[in-house]
């Protein structure tokens, strides 16, 4: 089974890209889909209704959704294999530009919107630099000059990244993404799937819902006003 991990900021068109992938492979390969989100998500129901594929979602609630995604990854692989899937598509919540849920033995796809601002690639960190492929959506809404400059900015962050421009609703240009998925090797050993980088997933007492202010009231990684260092407070 092949593993695709799709990340990207909110509302850039991640699900539109997923829909194109499923539509393209539906005659040859069985896809399974996992959506990770925080409060509500509807993508799983929509895709199940449209394509009749096995889907699942998890709500991370007070936990960072990318942290949650990493925790459930192994279970998700077993679930999808149990469903007889050939491709497991995991879509991140995409709430924070800095997450990087990519793992080994998978294809890391970052989705960016061409209309999100010319400097967005430079702000994205590991979500962009550790991906294997960048899919740039809404390419139909920008000028030729902006297309070229946007590509250049992505190259500034990751010179080796495969960049695919598309209008994800129409699916233009996605032939190269499909080819990369075709060429992707399947999961070799699920027990050896590792994160590609250390994502900034500071799970602290604020993240899990404690409302007191001041570092004295929190545990985990904290910092004081004076002294820019982070320190660990806890057991």
């Amino acid at each position: 089974m092949k593993l695709l991990i799709i990340a990207g900021p909110p509302s850039v068109g991640k699900t539109a890209v997923v829909r194109q992938i499923i539509a393209n492979f539906q005659d040859q390969k069985k896809c399974a889909y996992l959506k990770i989100d925080v409060v509500r998500a509807f993508e799983d129901e929509e895709l199940a209704a449209e394509f009749g594929i096995p889907v699942k979602k998890i709500y991370s609630g007070d936990l960072c959704p990318d942290h949650a995604g990493i925790l459930v990854m192994k279970d998700a692989v077993s679930w999808a294999e149990g469903e007889g899937a050939d491709i497991l598509i995991v879509e991140s919540a995409g709430l924070c530009l800095r997450c990087s849920p990519y793992t080994t033995q998978s294809l890391g796809i970052v989705v960016l919107s061409a209309i999100s601002g010319i400097n967005t690639p430079l702000k994205m960190g590991a979500m962009l630099s550790l991906a294997d492929i960048a899919v740039v959506t809404r390419i139909d809404l920008i000028s030729q000059a902006e297309k070229e400059v946007f590509r250049e900015k992505i190259r500034d962050v990751n010179d080796h990244l495969d960049i695919i421009e598309t209008n994800a609703i129409q699916g233009t240009g996605l032939r190269y993404l499909f080819r990369a998925i075709d060429e992707l090797a399947g999961i070799d050993d699920p027990d050896l799937i590792r994160l590609k980088g250390a994502p900034p997933l500071g799970v602290c007492t604020i993240c899990v819902g404690k409302k007191e202010t001041g570092w004295q009231n929190h545990f985990g990684v904290v910092r004081k006003l004076e002294g820019a260092d982070f320190l660990f407070r806890g057991e």
């Binding site: 601002g117 010319i118 000028s143 030729q144 250049e152 695919i164 421009e165 240009g173």
Partner: protein, 259 residues
């Protein structure tokens, strides 16, 4: 594939929405050619332009093939917009970068690694030939009008992108001097494809591709046959332009003839 080494782009037929083969053998586009694509909304005009823009290889819904110099172009020419022989100027007239005109063009020049004296000044000067509202180098792109942005994009396509084939999607909507744009693109030996509903743009083009039901229905090459009509349309168009300017300037229109 350098721009000057492209001597023709060819479109091979696919199928319309009813699955019938399209009604042509081959549309060949050479430098200096002008083609307008006409037909009702939903007839497949934009899909045709898209097929050209991505060099369709029987892998789009239309199953068309687009060749450069009789071959499938190398992958980098399709994928890297800076190497692509096609520039698409869309209906969208908003520019998203919050930069000054000068900075925006500088960024484009840098990404293309071009070293030509005063290329930015010349690009802005050319853009100003296409629009009645003067574009200044230090104005923010986001505050330009639709017509100014479109003019700047056309000038950029000529001076900086230097793509041999320019696709213009409904150029008439933006309030720019259509005739001057077409003349200038032709002078620079660009091949032009317009998606248009505009009589002037349609008749100014050497060939007219008529779309229906998602496919090419027929290709017209009227030449001399439309010469008189074209002269009349040019007159009408300049009357409309003058009227437009008068109305914008707050004038009262008492007579169309003497406008």
């Amino acid at each position: 594939m350098r721009p000057h080494s492209i001597h023709e782009i060819a479109i091979l037929p696919g199928y319309n929405r009813m699955g019938e083969p399209e009604n042509f053998d081959r549309i060949v586009i050479r430098p200096g050619d002008t083609i307008s694509v006409v037909g009702p909304t939903g007839s497949g005009k934009s899909a045709l332009i898209n097929d050209i823009e991505i060099f369709a290889n029987r892998d789009t819904v239309t199953m068309r093939t687009v060749l450069v110099n009789d071959e499938h172009p190398p992958e980098e020419c399709i994928r890297d917009p800076a190497k692509k022989p096609v520039a698409l100027i869309t209906q969208n007239t908003r520019c998203l970068s919050d930069l000054r005109v000068k900075e925006f063009l500088e960024m484009h020049v840098r990404s293309r690694k071009i070293e030509v004296d005063n290329i930015i000044g010349n690009t802005i000067a050319l853009a100003n030939e296409f629009t009645g509202e003067k574009i200044l180098p230090d104005v923010r792109i986001t505050s330009l009008s639709g017509g100014q942005t479109r003019s700047l994009m056309v000038a950029d396509a000529i001076m900086i992108s230097n793509a041999p084939l320019v696709l213009l999607d409904e150029v008439e909507n933006a309030g720019i001097f259509k005739g001057r744009v077409i003349e200038c693109l032709k002078k620079n030996n660009k091949a032009l494809i317009f998606v248009t509903h505009d009589p002037l743009v349609s008749l100014l083009s050497g060939r007219r591709v008529v779309m229906k039901n998602g496919g090419v229905e027929r290709i017209l090459e009227p030449g001399e046959e439309e010469k008189t009509a074209l002269e009349e349309i040019i007159r009408m168009d300049s009357t409309f332009s003058r009227l437009r300017e008068l109305i914008r300037a707050g004038g009262i229109i008492r007579s169309v003839r003497h406008a």
